[in-house]
């Protein structure tokens, strides 16, 4: 009969106390698993590894807000950039890809964010080395839409499905009349793209109510370009002329409010522009820095390396929260360890006689010491394994809820490499907490205990 089976039977003999002790370890380990997995998910989510663009260009303001809007789509976009600015960047010789995005509306069903963009969006890598894969067609017509995997799954939309948008937010009551048709479904990317509906940028601007007051657009342009070139001045003059002609035409067709017509370029405004820069790694970094400086000085715009504000957020908030959780977890593990110690130590009073009997039967002092140590190890490892399963089970169950509430995509089977440290840590913990009860067994006075 091995030491482990003797220890196991001793644990079984005190089933309730042992279960409660193992449960305290399990809860500590489960919490640790949740912290590790969550931190890993957030770290991957908000780091360079998950973003394929060098810069995000948006109106001046909070860098973090710009990234949260554009990449993670967790906040509502407020300010806009002139479409002309996008065209200028697209033609810049230093820029490999410039992708405009317009955000604002949500699907009526499911409340998924709408992103108006161009077909090139799906050609650029969404993360380093990772390209979109999809079934169906590209965005060709204005009212075509490509949906993320999560949208398809939750709304049970297939290719050919038609849907409408809610203006401004999922809780808004204004539903646009225009109907979009799903022409493509993206495969899972593990990014916010999975819960996004992409529509053609032209279609986005053709939605009734998305057109802005021309005077507002012009005043924003004047503000945006503090030192406009002659070409820009001419463009603004043309806009005014065009507006006047349009209003003259409109008075002739007053009843044609919802007629869908091609939106002139000047009327388009985008929320952000995603940029990838030409060159090797070093060249890209240098050009990105140059562009960031130029845009900051010349326009009412900013170019943000998406990593920087997210890393700051990680450093300031997420990392600190993680440290707090980590410290709490360590305390829980210590409490669990003390609980095992108290449980085994208290049981020693009852078991002294059993120990003495084993010694009388020929068990050596070391043998009974190891039996107690094996017992604490079994409790720690057993509780630890239950904790790992419990922790991952909770992550599995919480994943869809977290995704629904926060938009953060969680792989329900996420595993953190640091979890591999748990097992040796638990063995060390078991050795520590089993040591003193083990010594009590070691020093048991056989003759006295048996005669008692």
């Amino acid at each position: 009969m091995s030491l482990l089976s003797i220890a196991y039977k001793s644990i079984r003999q005190r089933a309730l106390a042992s279960s409660l002790t193992a449960l305290s370890v399990a809860l500590g380990v489960a919490l640790m698993v949740i912290v590790l997995v969550s931190y890993g998910i957030v770290d991957r989510m908000f780091s360079q590894r998950s973003i394929g663009y060098d810069l995000i260009v948006g109106p001046k303001g909070s860098e973090l807000e710009l990234v949260l809007n554009t990449v993670y789509r967790v906040r509502k976009a407020s300010w806009k950039l002139p479409y002309q600015f996008y065209l200028d960047l697209r033609d810049d010789s230093r820029i490999a890809e410039a992708i405009p995005v317009a955000l604002g509306d949500f699907t009526e069903e499911g409340g998924f964010p709408i992103v108006g963009t161009i077909p090139r969006y799906f050609v650029v890598e969404y993360a380093p080395g990772r390209k979109f894969q999809r079934k169906g067609k590209d965005l060709r017509r204005p009212f075509d839409a490509i949906i993320g995997s999560r949208v398809a799954r939750q709304n049970q939309w297939e290719i050919g499905a038609k849907f409408t948008l809610v203006h401004g937010g999922a809780k808004s009551e204004h539903v646009h009349d225009e109907e979009f048709e799903v022409v493509g479904i993206l495969k899972r990317t593990g990014t916010p793209n999975d819960r996004t509906v992409f529509v053609h940028l032209d279609g986005f601007f053709m939605i009734a109510g998305h057109e802005e007051d021309p005077e507002d657009i012009i005043s924003r342009m004047i503000k945006f370009y503090p030192d406009p070139t002659d070409e820009l001045r001419e463009l603004m003059a043309n806009i005014r002329r065009e507006v006047e002609e349009e209003s003259a035409n409109q008075s002739k067709h007053e009843h044609d409010d919802h007629h869908h017509h091609c939106v002139p370029t000047w009327r388009k405004e985008v929320t952000a522009i995603l940029l990838t820069v030409k060159g090797d790694m070093f060249g890209r970094v240098k050009r990105s820095i140059d562009l960031t400086r130029e845009l900051k000085e010349g326009f009412q715009a900013q170019a943000v390396n998406p990593i920087v504000p997210m890393r700051d957020l990680m450093e300031i908030v997420v990392k600190n929260v993680s440290i707090v959780l980590g410290v709490m977890t360590i305390f829980i593990i210590i409490v669990a360890g003390v609980s095992i110690f108290v449980s085994i130590y208290n049981s020693m009073a009852d078991r002294r006689k059993e120990i003495a009997i084993m010694r009388a039967l020929g068990a050596r002092r070391q043998t009974v010491f190891y039996i107690v140590l094996a017992e604490s190890t079994l409790l720690c490892i057993g509780g630890g394994l239950v904790g790992v399963v419990l922790g991952h089970g909770l992550v599995f169950l919480a994943a869809p809820l977290v995704e629904l509430q926060s938009g953060i995509l969680i792989n329900p089977f996420a595993f953190d490499i640091k979890e591999l440290v748990l097992l040796p840590s638990l063995i060390v913990l078991a050795s520590l907490v089993g040591f003193i009860p083990g010594l009590t067994a070691y020093w048991t006075d056989v003759a006295k205990t048996i005669s008692d």
């Binding site: 039977k9 084993m358 010694r359 009388a360 020929g362 050596r364 070391q366 003759a447 048996i450």
Partner: protein, 224 residues
């Protein structure tokens, strides 16, 4: 197998600091396969004597030789090993481990000798003590008589050459006393095991090869 005690002295210190002599035996022996009963009143040092023979208690002076091996000169670990391999022990209170079934208690008797626990032999021994139908019952599910029979099987499990029995019938009813003593004597005979049984009553002495009074050997403080 033979047991020989020479000049064994053992005393305990009382709470007041005075020495209380328990054992003072000049010479005592048990021959190979002999079945001996040693009778003495409570407090006469019977249990201490068995503990000294088993190497559980170290005497203040003197020698214990079992089969020519001087147990008293062995290290504690070696004494443990010797006890595990060569001695069987039956306690007055049976002392079965409550977490283990009857079969497991017998297997436990084999576990500390370094040899592989033999389930077949453990089962056979329990069959021999008429507990073949109770192999997987825990001590709490067994009667007092059955528990002591398990203790007998456990003591014999590791094929000892000397079986030490400390008032094995003190806590069983009269009907079971005879059954258990018969069982101990029979199984010792079958296995050529020497038996030293200590008790406070002579009622059970009839079937033993040799009956002795402890007081004839043990003269603590020069008494008797």
């Amino acid at each position: 197998m033979s047991l020989l005690l020479e000049n064994i002295r053992k005393s305990y210190r009382e709470p007041g600091g005075q020495e209380l002599p328990i054992l003072d035996i000049d010479y005592f022996n048990v021959k190979e396969a002999e079945q001996m009963i040693l009778v003495g009143p409570s407090g006469s040092g019977k249990t201490t004597l068995l503990n000294v023979i088993a190497g559980i208690t170290v005497p203040d002076s003197g020698r214990v030789l079992i089969d020519g091996v001087e147990v008293t000169s062995l290290s504690e670990a070696a004494r443990d090993r010797f006890r595990a391999e060569r001695l069987g022990f039956i306690f007055q209170m049976f002392n079965l481990l409550p977490a283990f079934s009857a079969l497991e208690n017998v297997l436990l008797g084999m576990s500390f000798s370094g040899e592989k626990a033999d389930r077949d032999r453990a089962g056979q021994l329990l069959e021999r003590v008429d507990l073949g139908h109770r192999l997987h019952h825990r001590p709490s599910q067994l009667s007092v008589g059955e528990q002591q029979r398990v203790a007998v099987a456990r003591a014999l499990a590791k094929r000892p050459s000397l079986l030490l029995a400390d008032e094995p019938t003190a806590n069983v009813d009269i009907a079971n006393q005879k059954i258990i003593l018969d069982l101990i004597c029979e199984t010792c005979s079958e296995n050529q095991v020497a038996l030293l049984l200590v008790t406070h009553t002579l009622e059970v002495a009839a079937q033993f090869d040799r009956v002795e009074r402890l007081i004839d050997f043990n003269k603590p403080g020069g008494s008797a």
